[in-house]
């Protein structure tokens, strides 16, 4: 396997890495003026990096001595990640400009995180996994504290960093335990070392738990979720929109790959941990959101609950479950992104970002378009038919039922009922309560209305039109994994 081959197999990451260096130089020379240009250039770069994804030969293509693999699964997730990152870059521009924090680093940090995520979903080795994860995380810490003059933002960055460092430590400890008992960090070798049915290896099991804990931290599954509400509330809204989407997708993808490819033999063990995390996340996410007054915190708990739902598919441990998770991630990414961007567009007369639930009162009368879009997102997130958000929920529940985990599905349905309360409360506040304050639209909106509109259309029943291709695509990706 030559370097050239590796370069061609890993073309998306290579393009991305090279591009980031160039854009970094441009930014360094041109300064913050270059923000808008850099943003568009970043999106272009992401598009460029995505080209090889469509071009590659089907099947598994290994590279860099087995550290890296390109398969349908990684291609699927990379596309989602690129899409989420591109959106996160573009929607932030008006916001950053308005708050005079229009630093050119923003798109570059997102790009770096994206590069990390791309490596994550293609990782075939605990080391490449770690490199990808850290690249993403370090960029994310900086992004969380992007408003460094603002205490809330820096607090969020610090908390995220401290807890993230702990998670990284757990991950490394787990990796070393696994290496110690398996004699290798390669997924394939680990899988060979821990075959189902053999004597349980408690050391390896502990290693697996540590690894799982670190990944659970990234996807903010209970009880490793504690950072989520605080960081979501403190970090700048476009950053949160980014956090809530692409990294979640990448971390879930990584979790799927690690658990299936490296620890497939210990399925019976990790299934139970995932099961407990899933239930705890659904219930806590659904219940705790009810007491929230901030829209961002509410969406943070919504993210926790949704990860819980997605984990149902993982806990099912079947191909149908994996497919369901992939569909869930896709739809969740669009709905959440749309919700955050809609939130991003709400500004009061002083230019203050409206983030409290109370601020949304009567929005239907002052900003009917945004209110309608938000209503669609809320209904869809609640999983109420005929919104498209119903479909992935149905998929994970039926995967769980098929796997014989019907109590899990029942709990999931109950949690959705509870969650429906706070989603619908948002709708009620917007549509029934009298208007609270004046909502103005910032002069320049950039692509935001288009993003919201497209996301709303996707989340609405129109999304079912895409169900066929999306399902086929997800099925192909799931096949590559299992």
């Amino acid at each position: 396997m030559t370097l050239l081959q590796s370069l061609s197999v890993g073309a998306p990451e290579v393009v991305l890495a090279a591009g980031i260096c160039v854009l970094l130089l441009v930014g360094a020379f041109r300064g913050d003026r270059a923000l808008e240009g850099l943003s568009w250039a970043s999106v272009l770069l992401l598009a460029l990096a995505a080209v090889p994804l469509f071009d590659q030969a089907p099947g598994r293509l290994a590279a860099w001595n087995g550290l890296y693999v390109a398969d349908a699964f990684s291609r699927h997730l990379k596309l989602l990640v690129f899409l989420g990152s591109a959106a996160a870059i573009l929607v932030a521009v008006p916001y950053l400009r308005r708050l005079a924090t229009a630093r050119f680093e923003y798109p570059l940090l997102v790009l770096l995180a994206t590069l990390g995520m791309a490596i994550m979903v293609s990782a075939q080795n605990l080391l490449s996994l770690y490199v990808g994860l850290e690249l993403m995380s370090l960029s994310a810490y900086v992004l969380a504290a992007f408003h460094r003059d603002e205490s809330r933002s820096s607090e969020a960055g610090l908390k995220y960093f401290a807890l993230g460092a702990l998670a990284s430590g757990l991950m490394l400890y787990g990796a070393s335990l696994v290496y110690g008992f398996a004699g290798s960090t390669s997924f394939a070798d680990i899988a060979k070392a821990f075959v189902a049915g053999e004597v349980r290896n408690l050391g390896a099991l502990f290693g697996l738990v540590f690894l799982l804990a670190a990944l659970a931290f990234k996807v903010s599954a209970v009880p490793f979720h504690m950072w989520t509400p605080d960081v979501y509330e403190g970090a700048p809204t476009p950053v949160v929109a980014f956090f809530a989407t692409a990294p979640k997708v990448a971390a879930m993808g990584l979790m799927l790959r690690l658990l299936y490819e490296a620890f497939g033999g210990m399925k019976a063990d990790w299934q139970q941990i995932v099961l407990v995390m899933s239930i705890a996340s659904m219930l806590l996410g659904s219940v705790a959101a009810i007491a929230q007054t901030s829209m961002k915190r509410l969406l943070a708990y919504s993210a926790i609950a949704n990860i819980g739902f997605a984990l149902i598919g993982l806990a099912a441990g079947t191909a149908a479950g994996v497919e369901a998770v992939l569909l869930y991630l896709l739809v969740y990414l669009v709905m959440t992104l749309g919700a955050f961007v809609a939130l991003l567009m709400l500004v009061d007369a002083d230019g203050r970002q409206l983030e409290d639930l109370a601020d949304l009162a009567g929005l239907a009368r002052t900003r009917p378009g945004i209110a309608s879009a938000l209503a669609i997102f809320m209904f869809s997130l609640a999983g109420i038919p005929p919104m498209f958000g119903f479909m992935p929920k149905l998929a994970v529940f039926s995967a769980a039922v098929e796997a014989g985990l019907w109590p899990l599905a029942v709990l999931g349905v109950l949690a959705s009922v509870v969650a429906a309360y706070y989603y619908l409360r948002v709708v009620k506040i917007m549509f029934i309560d009298p208007p609270a304050g004046v909502v103005v639209l910032p002069g320049e909106q950039g692509v935001n209305p288009a993003v919201v509109g497209a996301a709303a259309a996707f989340s609405s029943p129109l999304g079912y039109l895409l169900l066929g291709p999306l399902a086929a695509w997800g099925a192909e990706a799931a096949r590559a994994l299992a």
Partner: protein, 665 residues
């Protein structure tokens, strides 16, 4: 033609109901009344065609539903029996529509009233023309709905909506029986088409089914269940309590629905299903007994009531009893004949009473009437004709039909029939007494208007208007200075036409309805010419008995209320317990209140506070919501914001997972 007849009232209802205030009072009245008169004309045409021997036919309109082997279509069926009902319904309805022009003239929501009247007529026509028992049930419920709406027409009056609810609920009991009967019919016959059912009756005679371990005759059960439905609609003893209260509705409604048409639906049902009832002798005996009991019960109560409309309501109840025992003894033709004539004279009596009430400024208590014959002579004449007819004076409508019923009971000479005959004879005496009592109290004697709050109220208005008139010693004047006026022509024309019906309907039609010929009914109900021939061969004593009973009743009423005023009060003083028992309507309302209403309310309250609020709400919605809310508060407190706490939680989670896996291994 048949379609037009049935659906014109529906069109009228839609026009007046949807147009309502938009098209105004006049247009609503014109369209509904106009359509009804066209319908009535068509009904007479159909009636005479049937009489001329056209034969039964069915017009299928559309398929209604098909489910498995059950298939029901919308279809209109006409035979002689139905034609008689069509004539009765449309004629009385048209006259009542006309009558209401003046009677309801001051009402603010006249389009609604006329819409309801037309809706009722449509539903009633659907009921009688039904080809299948399901369609009949549709009409059956439709008239129930219209009756409910019209009883509660003055919905601001609590007594009116109470009466409306009572009528609806009591009818529900009957309808439960009816629906069970329908299920039974489908179970036994496998079809709900009436013609097919009746044709298959002989084949299923003697079929039994197992109920709680005992063999029960299927046809008897079905017939009794259907009769329970009929009892509810026709206010027979036990399920009669709603009818007197239904008088809360406007008087034209009482005339149309609660005298002439809807309440006779039960009789029609029994006659329509007569082959089925013939195959179930036990059910027929029940019909006879219930009919006789009702005839007696209602007649006794009617002798004591003060409200003019309630007297007529109990009278209706009693006459319906006659119809039922006629059917019970197998004289379906006689039952239908009495139904036919009763429609004329009872509508006449009700509309006459309405005219009196109209003249007396909505005063309905006969104790405040008296001496009205000089003031409203035409109404007096009409009411007298109605009374002559109902008491069965020679050659009036009631003479032929009531005697026919009584003779039929005698001629059948089974035990239930003879009981019914003697009871009916006594009831005829009572009928004569209370009917003449009504006439004497209302039209004879001295005016007693001064005591009436309604008149006083009206006169207070007049006194204001005629301020310059000066005082003329009101205190001693029993008329309180009030001058009743005769009703306008649109109210008198129906009275005149119905008077003609009350006088001549019997004379003209008795040969056809209860004669010995088979041709008239043409198989539309069970008709045995030989049996009817026996009606003319009853002993002389029996033949004269109804007339004697009638005469005695008239004389008694004359003595008590005209010749010796105050005799009635003396009688009440002598037998206070009997009077109170009758005046309180045999304590049926009190009994039902104690037996059903209050326990039902108690159970309702128990289920509401204990079951629904205490158990379901507390453990269900409220409890879960509270739990979720508490959980949210706890989760919020956990989110303390302290980094060390977050880190600890992560480690706790990790340790918990490891411990569990280790222990499990």
């Amino acid at each position: 033609m048949l379609e037009a007849l049935v659906f014109l009232p529906l069109l009228g209802f839609l026009a007046a109901g949807i147009g309502n205030r938009a098209i105004g009072d006049f247009a609503a009245k014109l369209v509904t009344t106009g359509f009804l008169f066209v319908s009535a004309l068509l009904a007479w045409v159909i009636f005479f065609r049937q009489w001329g021997g056209e034969g039964a036919y069915t017009v299928t309109l559309a398929e209604w539903f098909t489910s498995g082997t059950l298939s029901v279509s919308w279809a209109l069926h006409v035979d002689m029996l139905v034609a008689v009902m069509l004539v009765v319904i449309t004629t009385v309805s048209a006259l009542v529509h006309l009558y209401s022009w003046a009677y309801m003239a001051d009402d603010p929501s006249q389009p609604r009233f006329f819409a309801y009247l037309s809706l009722f007529t449509f539903a009633m026509l659907m009921l009688v023309t039904a080809d299948s028992i399901v369609q009949m049930f549709f009409g059956w419920e439709g008239v129930g709905l219209a009756s409910y709406l019209l009883i509660g027409f003055w919905y601001r009056k609590p007594s009116a909506w109470n009466a409306a609810i009572k009528a609806f609920v009591v009818n529900r009991v009957g309808d439960f029986g009816f629906s069970l009967g329908i299920f039974g019919l489908f179970l036994v016959f496998g079809t709900l088409d009436i013609g097919a059912i009746l044709a298959a009756v002989p084949a299923h005679k003697g079929t039994t089914f197992d109920f709680l371990g005992s063999e029960v005759d299927a046809l008897t059960t079905i017939a009794i269940l259907l009769f329970i439905g009929a009892m509810g609609k026709s206010a027979q003893l036990g399920l009669h309590t709603w009818l007197p209260d239904a008088m809360e509705g406007p008087t034209p409604v009482s005339a149309l629905i609660h005298a002439a048409t809807m309440v006779t639906a039960g009789v029609f049902l029994v006659c329509r299903m007569s082959p089925l009832f013939e195959a179930a002798p036990a059910a027929l005996a029940l019909v006879t007994f219930v009919g006789a009991a009702t005839a007696l019960f209602a007649a006794t109560v009617a002798t004591t009531q003060h409200d003019i409309k309630r007297v007529i309501a109990y009278s209706t109840c009693s006459q319906l009893g006659y119809m039922f025992f006629a059917a019970g003894v197998g004289a379906y033709g006689a039952a239908m004949f009495h139904l036919f004539t009763h429609a004329f004279f009872k509508a006449l009596l009700f509309l006459g009473a309405g005219s009196v009430i109209h003249a007396m400024h909505h005063e309905q208590d006969m104790r405040f009437y008296g001496g009205l014959r000089r003031h409203i002579p035409l109404t007096f004449a009409a009411m007298t004709i109605g009374t002559l007819a109902i008491t069965g004076v020679f050659y009036t409508a009631g003479y032929y039909s009531k005697d026919g019923v009584l003779f039929a009971a005698y001629a059948r000479s089974t035990e239930p029939a003879l009981v019914a005959f003697s009871v009916g004879l006594f009831a005829a005496f009572l009928t004569s007494f209370y009917s003449w009592r009504l006439v004497f109290l209302t039209f004879f004697g001295e005016p007693r208007w001064a005591g009436s709050p309604h008149i006083a109220h009206a006169h207070a208005h007049d006194a204001h208007a005629e301020a310059g008139h000066g005082a003329h010693g009101h205190g001693a004047d029993p008329t309180a200075g009030y001058h009743p006026h005769e009703s306008p022509p649109s109210m008198l024309v129906p009275l005149v036409l119905l008077s003609a019906g009350a006088l001549f309907a019997g004379l003209l039609f008795h040969q056809a309805f209860i004669g010995a010929g088979e041709a008239f009914w043409a198989g539309s109900l069970v008709h045995d010419p030989a049996f009817y021939a026996k009606l003319h061969e009853v002993p002389a004593l029996v033949h004269w008995a109804p007339a004697i009973a009638m005469g005695l009743g008239l004389l008694l009423a004359l003595r008590q209320y005209v010749l010796k005023p105050g005799a009635a009060e003396d009688f009440v003083r002598t037998l206070p317990t009997l009077h109170r028992f009758l005046y309180r309507k045999w304590y049926f309302d009190e009994l039902y209140d104690w037996l059903f209403v209050r326990p039902a309310k108690r159970i309702g309250r128990l289920l509401w506070t204990g079951g629904d609020q205490g158990l379901i709400d507390r453990l269900g919605p409220d409890g879960l919501a509270g739990l979720v809310g508490a959980g949210a508060a706890v989760a919020r407190r956990f989110q303390s914001g302290y980094l060390y706490f977050y880190a600890m939680m992560m480690l706790v989670g990790l340790a918990a997972a490891m411990t569990w896996l280790a222990l499990k291994g």
